[in-house]
Amino acid sequence: MNKFMCFVVLAVIFPAPAIAQPPGAANERGFGPRRVGQRNSAAQQERKVSSALIKLLQYDADDDGNLTREELSDSRLQALFTRADKDSDDALTKAELVAVVGGNPSSAPTRSAGEPTQRSGSPAVTDSETSTVPLAVVIPDPLRDSLGLSQHQRDELARLQLEVDRKLKQILNAEQHSKAKQWTEERSRQAPASIQAR
């Protein structure tokens, strides 16, 4: 039974999705990189939180852990600063920083799966419409987590997964794809815990 759940795919990375332009494409949806399945969302969210924090803290010129408006010199990030600066004192504390990037300000920057993310001043993200369970998981979550991958490897893996999703969508026609998605999603609902490595 586990065999069903264990989709390991030998995938080939093709040159950039940005360049590929399949003929006869009539719908713009599906040409963007698709989201990796929501089951990954906890790890994914954690990764996004830390990468955003790293980027922002590079502007912390005096290295005090806070970010002033002056330090955040990139004008493109001023809107983010304003959103984050809840007390309008023109300085972001660590808690404010962690909060704006979607982490939990009172503890380590992690977040449980399924917890909605508040960002961009827009309504909390709901996954009902875009929820996707990958048809073929390159490396299932439990295995991935047990491998002790580096941040770089995780990023590469996420990229590969997106690429696999994208290619599959090209290979299958719409009907096949939706049938396959249905099947996968039913499977993952029935026994999410049994998705594991051999």
Partner: protein
């Protein structure tokens, strides 16, 4: 070391060396998918005014937007002689691409240019007059497609979305565009031009080119 190896090493270093971000280099504008509708037949009029085609006096349907910005290197230097192309669907959600427009002839706004081009001068600045982007079926985030090149080298393909638009959070391309900082870098504020007679908007979108070699070179598989 071959040219390709050198490029591969360069791009690898880009991803794994946090130190490269240091010294307040500008964060590069994230690369986003080109999508399927880069015009399959470029229009005769390719200027930076997408509202009026050639000598026509009938403007495009939609809210006029003055879309401007600068093209910069990561150190903040303006990039001159860069060509920026933009394309987007018209106010009725039809692209200037036969795969999209063929079935939507009645719907298409014949007065919208759909595509425009501009070459930067020494200040790296660009300027377009276009329409405020609208959602497209399957793409709840209104967006303008952008391609930057220099000579025959493509430097960046990306998209600009409307900051704070409710569709962004539901949009597949937006959501997969990285972390929240990346999200900031692909959005621009579309603000009303004060005292404009016709409900005009302006948006400033600076584009930072992360790497100067041809995108396509760098996007080859690194391990092959």
């Amino acid at each position: 070391m071959s040219r390709r190896q050198a490029l591969a090493t360069g791009s690898l270093a880009f991803w794994i060396t946090p130190g490269l971000y240091a010294e307040q280099l500008l964060l590069p504008t994230p690369r986003l998918t080109e999508g399927p509708f880069y015009p399959d037949k470029l229009p005769l009029d390719q200027d930076n005014d997408l509202i009026l085609i050639k000598d026509s006096t009938t403007p495009a349907v939609g809210q006029i937007a003055h879309f401007t910005g600068r093209i910069l290197s990561r150190s903040g230097q303006p990039i001159r002689n860069a060509t920026i192309e933009i394309w987007q669907c018209d106010a009725n959600a039809v692209y200037l691409h036969s795969a999209d427009s063929n079935g939507k002839k009645d719907q298409q706004d014949k007065h919208f240019q759909g595509y425009g081009k501009f070459e930067t001068a020494s200040d790296g600045g660009y300027r377009f007059r276009t329409i405020k982007p609208v959602p497209y079926p399957g793409r709840p985030a209104p967006h303008i497609h952008i391609k930057v090149s220099r000579g025959d080298r493509e430097l960046l393909t990306t998209q600009c979305m409307i900051r704070g638009h409710e569709g962004n959070a539901r949009d597949g391309v937006f959501r997969s565009a990285g972390d929240i900082v990346d999200h900031e870098l692909i959005q621009a504020d579309f603000t009303k031009v004060p005292d404009s007679k016709m409900d005009e908007y302006r948006a400033e979108f600076d584009i930072v080119i992360g790497r100067t070699p041809d995108d396509r070179q760098l996007q080859r598989p690194r391990n092959s």
